[in-house]
Amino acid sequence: MFIVIVGCGRVGSAIAKRALDAGHEVSVVDSDPLSHERLDKDQLTTWEDAGGRFTVSTALEIDGLIEAGIEQADVFVASTSGDNTNLVIAQIAQRRFKVKRVVVRVADPGRASWYAEQGLLTICPTQVAIDEASRVVLA
């Protein structure tokens, strides 16, 4: 599979490395060139030598997304630090580039659940933490 990931923070970079290890083609986009370090951290080779791609671009820049290969992507992951940025680029991936599988990280449970109802695959770390912590606390 060809996976495009926008946002190379803790979550994005970890998914990227895991996907590359699993043998997938991975292209990562982030506006901060230094975020690339997360991809090299604890690895034997550099991200590029391992076969990964990295593009410096802001999330809403269409040229950057195309350079990263969004037109060929089988999976698109929106994992920047901004909920609204993620929700907008996820919808761009879905509607404009017709990416089949679009995964969006949304910290706010309210927006996450409403956009999930609209057909986006939202993942809400806050909701996961709430559920998990409640389970432990109330055990």
Binding site: I62, D83, N84, V88, W114
Partner: protein, 225 residues
């Protein structure tokens, strides 16, 4: 009419003032606390503190009964989301969104957040209108109707100069609706002669500009090149 305005920057604050002066019911929502305190001194209960991209903040502002939601924060993603949720989740009939970066206008369109207003774009159009060498000026885009009105200057030596309106070679879907000459304008007839230096107004299907402009440019070149 009940209006919710997201973002109490210069645009939002002044809009709120104007609408309140016109006796509209207005709630302004601002997420920066320091800014909120400043605006609250003047607008009092008409401003609320909170992030207007959060559902509960919109609901506290009464979005269920809003007739109009205006998103004018400094962040295009926020403006898109606020308007999208207002329309699609809460059924607000009318929205207006501000576009900060004109390059993002395509995203507003894609996600059907309309009308989207870009100050940069408006000023650019005014500049184009004031600077004749740009040649083509878009005066009005009726997006839902798929029509636009443009203004073109007739260059000396162009194929349209000296011709009758009916003889100007225009593609189907375009029509000369007005001629501006000197300080006056008139609606031409089929046999009105177009003169070099005239400004002509055309109504057309969007996308035909490239076929139209060569008729008005010297030697058939594109005037904006």
């Amino acid at each position: 009419m009940y209006v919710i305005i997201a973002g109490a920057g210069k645009v939002g604050w002044n809009l709120a003032r104007e609408l309140i002066a016109k006796e509209r019911e207005v709630t302004l929502v601002e997420s920066d606390h320091a800014r909120y305190r400043v605006v609250e001194e003047e607008l009092e209960h008409a401003v609320q503190y909170g992030d207007a991209t959060e559902l509960w903040v919109l609901e506290r502002a009464g979005i269920q009964r809003a007739d109009l939601v205006i998103a004018v924060t400094g962040d295009d993603e926020d403006n898109i989301l606020i308007c999208q949720m207002a329309k699609e989740k809460y059924g607000v009939q009318r929205i207006v969104a501000r576009v900060n970066n004109p390059r993002n206008l395509q995203h507003f369109r894609l996600l059907d957040v309309q009308p989207a207003v870009s100050a940069t774009d408006l000023i650019l159009r005014l500049i184009e209108h004031e600077v004749p060498e740009y040649g083509l000026v878009q005066l009005l885009a009726l997006e839902d109707e798929h029509l636009e009105i443009i203004e073109l200057e007739v260059s000396p030596g162009s194929s349209a100069a000296g011709r009758r309106v009916q003889d100007v070679e225009l593609p189907d879907g375009s029509l000369i609706i007005s001629v501006l000459r000197g300080c006056a304008g008139f609606v031409p007839k089929a046999d009105s002669v177009i003169q070099p230096g005239d400004q002509v107004l055309l109504i057309l299907d969007p996308g035909l500009e490239a076929q139209i402009t060569p008729q008005f440019a010297p030697n058939g070149a594109s005037p904006s090149a």
